[in-house]
Amino acid sequence: MPPTGLEPARMNRKKGDKGFESPRPYKLTHQVVCINNINFQRKSVVGFVELTIFPTVANLNRIKLNSKQCRIYRVRINDLEAAFIYNDPTLEVCHNESKQRNLNYFSNAYAAAVSAVDPDAGNGELCIKVPSELWKHVDELKVLKIHINFSLDQPKGGLHFVVPSVEGSMAERGAHVFSCGYQNSTRFWFPCVDSYSELCTWKLEFTVDAAMVAVSNGDLVETVYTHDMRKKTFHYMLTIPTAASNISLAIGPFEILVDPYMHEVTHFCLPQLLPLLKHTTSYLHEVFEFYEEILTCRYPYSCFKTVFIDEAYVEVAAYASMSIFSTNLLHSAMIIDETPLTRRCLAQSLAQQFFGCFISRMSWSDEWVLKGISGYIYGLWMKKTFGVNEYRHWIKEELDKIVAYELKTGGVLLHPIFGGGKEKDNPASHLHFSIKHPHTLSWEYYTMFQCKAHLVMRLIENRISMEFMLQVFNKLLSLASTASSQKFQSHMWSQMLVSTSGFLKSISNVSGKDIQPLIKQWVDQSGVVKFYGSFAFNRKRNVLELEIKQDYTSPGTQKYVGPLKVTVQELDGSFNHTLQIEENSLKHDIPCHSKSRRNKKKKIPLMNGEEVDMDLSAMDADSPLLWIRIDPDMSVLRKVEFEQADFMWQYQLRYERDVVAQQESILALEKFPTPASRLALTDILEQEQCFYRVRMSACFCLAKIANSMVSTWTGPPAMKSLFTRMFCCKTCPNIVKTNNFMSFQSYFLQKTMPVAMALLRDVHNLCPKEVLTFILDLIKYNDNRKNKFSDNYYRAEMIDALANSVTPAVSVNNEVRTLDNLNPDVRLILEEITRFLNMEKLLPSYRHTITVSCLRAIRVLQKNGHVPSDPALFKSYAEYGHFVDIRIAALEAVVDYTKVDRSYEELQWLLNMIQNDPVPYVRHKILNMLTKNPPFTKNMESPLCNEALVDQLWKLMNSGDDGTYFCKLKIK
């Protein structure tokens, strides 16, 4: 077991500022990192670090630092040799002798191991003894310089080497290396205090091949050749105090692009991609301008660097003054779909530069503030860039996600408080992992955590107004930048750390409002609210009797008490009512403004002031209610199940201008397969002014409705005539117009409609022949020659449409699938897939979207019994060396095959890949897919579930040094 922490009493030294107490008996002020040899062939790194620390207690005799997988040669303190002990308990989480093998045991052991080296508790893997000669020196609290020589060989995490196996020098091969990792994982590549709360200034030196560039944090001071002129050394200085966890590095033969708008911003990409880099980053300055404007604060660092690298760990990683992106985000001007996604990534990383890199956190439980603020300002950027509709749609999407996750797993807690650190008051006992440390979390939990954090920030904004919100951010930033400029007063630096209490104090100072109940509800406690609503109209009293019930007993739910907004659209207009949700009141009477007697030919005023004509014949003659919405502004983290009549949903879809309301009504209309619903959906589909995402989801809803009313459906298949009218030639309606994607809205609609249409089924539950022919014709007549944009996504969706049209094969007593008994429709589909897949080899599409769709379609054909089920094809596409999207698609098929065919061999193959694949992203993804689509579940009898497998998984978990932890579903 690792040595226990230092006596806590000595650590509680007040720093005289906002109550930040360092867990360490010393203060780090400056650190030098020097990597003087990087060997791409051997994947090794040699270097040293030098930490300048000031003891804060007199009898400091041991110094604990973080370091993982580094080989430490020598430690000197003020030029005196120092003894050291190195122990990493996470390498073997549970000791071999233990016979106990369950998740609970593992989880506890793992949390204990992580905690034993947690820098936030003053612990570390590396324990250095202060030489006795220096004790006197220490007692005077004088400076210590700790010099550590280390090397790193074939790192499993922290640094990722990409070395393509082609001819030529490393630079010509495009070999590169970059730092990566989840949360604070800088200790993987050099010894440091790997905490977000220990800030210091940095000097970084990297000696690399003369043909390469080393990009790191801070300002590049100079680049100097080595004496033999074959290498050069990049010298970086980072004068803004920064946590070690925000230090990063990327080395490779990068192409350099100085941003034409902002010369202090430099972009880097791998060889040959410069044109793409130019296009991709040409937008970045607008993001800068936006953030600087709303925060009324300059970008804190003197320079900014973006690096686009291959085999990225995550798509976006933000570090002090630089961000590392996946090279797959680069795109040319011809690509439509990727553009907004990439811009989002850029904006996201930039938001984290302010909150996350520049402003760091005091402890893990304050993480939500940083993630919340960066997510919130990113949302503001989104609102400005993509419009209110997109923003609201995004908020709704995020809300749905978090609600679904919390209801499924039992809650996400933003601000965990660990009283006494005993397991029994673990606030997250419903989870299979501890939420005490970032490293013990499941990946999905952390994603949801971030999602909830920014939603809660939005709730705070609702309460105190955006203006105050931005003032708070500005205050945090200006405090931090004042502190950061205090070069020699390191005790001031803790002002650059944000804490929950500091943040809340700021809010109350700025706004003068008490948001404590809100914080208590959403931050200090987990769970979401589940509302059930129904209503009745009392004609005599002209009152709407609304009943709102809550479910607060199921896991992941909580009770909500407080105001709740309800919007009622009546004949005379739209009215907001604020109900007070209390313990025992279920019924709420809302007086109606309109008389039910309808004033003929009168326009109906909407919420936004618009007045519209409506055909009111569908509604109930006795009631003036058109539709009712509960919590229309999404100011509660909730799920609402509301009952209203079908015609009300239809009115809501047609006339409510809020995209969220439209989306909700589309979802509700699925349950009402009537001609009226059909008409409402078709009308929405045709409305150009309607938000394109709403129209897209209307397509799928229409397909579902059409299937439900298949026996009474009249006319051509749903959407066909609509599509013909919108996208086909006037003279020959079976031929689609040559592609012109200038209008993105109609592009997205054109892409989606065939996919939805392919879901249509006739009375025999087969896809109508007419629809299949229609899609085949779309593919046949697709002509992109005159188009400004690439049609790769469009073609990929056409293949998805073909796959959607596939129905299970009629099998006569399990005959073997051969070509001879191939269904003629399937033959046509297969013909197209073959051609597309082969053409991809000759003219590859952007990000190989078409290959990905083809692979998925082939799996669908296999699963439906048209083609013999065989994983060989997918396995060949899953190999290292294919583009990552293709690999993931192929692996998904293999995972599915493993489940359906219960193949032990394939499971072994997958597990082998999890252990040995060179790309961490792929390893994670396989695990992720296996947990999402497990080959067997807990209570299921399966030949796959045997002792050997359990052994194997246990070993995998036990030695895991990063995300290999979450194979939970399979063990039990």
Binding site: T223, I256, G881
Partner: protein, 326 residues
């Protein structure tokens, strides 16, 4: 006897071919000459004392004689034309014979030899008329500026062109149909070819030819093919960019284009500057505004050497590092 046999042979062959002759006057003419030559050869043989000869050898000799005489004629014609005449004269013949290595002086004596045989002159047959090519239309008379001795115009059909057009296919549907099926055929043929010539994968174990899939081949640098637009697309983009002048072109795109160009130019300039530090002084400072640490030249290590030598070597050293980066 030999002579008789020869003549008889010649005669019989003559009559045999004569059965055909009525049909072809040109053949007839040539056959008559040939027969005379055969008689000449036979008589010469008789004169030389042969009593009989095989038909094949007579034929061979006839052939040789004919060639010889033809050669004399051809050569003589050349000589006469060389001296700008159209009719050969005796001297032309003599020169020809001399040129062919024949001793002309022996000719009068040979002509007057005693045992020579006289053969009858060949029957006069008319030179066959070369059948006139089918005349099509009236030959054009010479225009006044062309002298009349110049050759006539050829038949009009040889130079007059009458362009013909098929009714152009203007039906949109047909055009689209055609374009689509053409593209599809090309694609299918190409992919099938590629599949046939390379490794394939198949969805059906028992049949590898109906739906041949070109085998998946891992790349060493997979992101390049995935991200870079293909040349075809680039070309297409240029085409649409130049052809399209619709006002729809988003305003966002235009300044963007200019800017990327700018930056390219700037980068070009800076690299030029670095390659030729001596020039940078003379250039205007405009390009120098960008002061980005990554564009600064790499410093030399601090070596104790004379400064002048450092300066001398520096321009040459920046070049390779720049070049490497590209």
């Amino acid at each position: 006897m030999a002579d008789a046999a020869a003549t008889a042979g010649a005669g019989s062959s003559g009559t045999r071919s004569g059965s055909k002759q009525s049909t072809n006057p040109a053949d007839n003419y040539h056959l008559a000459r040939r027969r005379t030559l055969q008689v000449v050869v036979s008589s010469l043989l008789t004169e030389a004392g042969f009593e009989s000869a095989e038909k094949a050898s007579v034929e061979t000799l006839t052939e040789m004689l004919q060639s010889y005489i033809s050669e004399i004629g051809r050569s003589a014609k050349s000589y006469c034309e060389h001296t700008a005449r159209t009719q050969p004269t005796l001297s032309d013949i003599v020169v020809t014979l001399v040129e062919m290595g024949f001793n002309v002086d022996t000719l009068p004596a040979y002509a007057k030899r005693s045992q020579r045989m006289v053969i009858t002159a060949p029957p006069v047959t008319n030179q066959p008329v070369t059948p006139k090519a089918l005349t099509a239309g009236q030959n054009r008379p010479h225009p006044p500026h062309i002298p009349s001795h110049f050759p006539e115009f050829p038949d009009p059909h040889t130079y007059i062109k009458t362009p013909t057009y098929r009714e152009p296919v203007s039906d949109y549907q047909v055009l689209r149909e055609k374009a689509a099926s053409q593209r599809r055929d090309v694609e299918r043929a190409l992919t099938r070819f590629m599949a046939k010539t390379g490794e394939t994968q198949s969805l059906f174990k028992d049949d590898v030819s109906t739906f041949p899939l070109i085998a998946a081949r891992p790349f060493t640098i997979p992101y390049l093919t995935a991200l870079l637009p293909s040349e075809l697309e680039m070309q297409q983009m240029e085409e649409t960019d130049s052809s399209e002048q619709d006002e729809q072109t988003d305003t966002e795109n235009l300044p963007l284009h200019i800017n990327t160009d700018d930056s390219g130019a700037e980068k070009e300039n800076t690299s030029v500057l670095q390659q030729n530090p001596s020039l940078s002084g003379s250039r205007n400072g405009e390009e120098n505004i960008i002061d980005n640490p990554y564009l600064r030249p790499v410093k030399k290590p601090k070596i104790r050497r004379k400064k002048t030598s450092l300066l001398l070597t520096s321009p040459g050293l920046h070049v390779p590092c720049r070049a490497d980066r590209r």
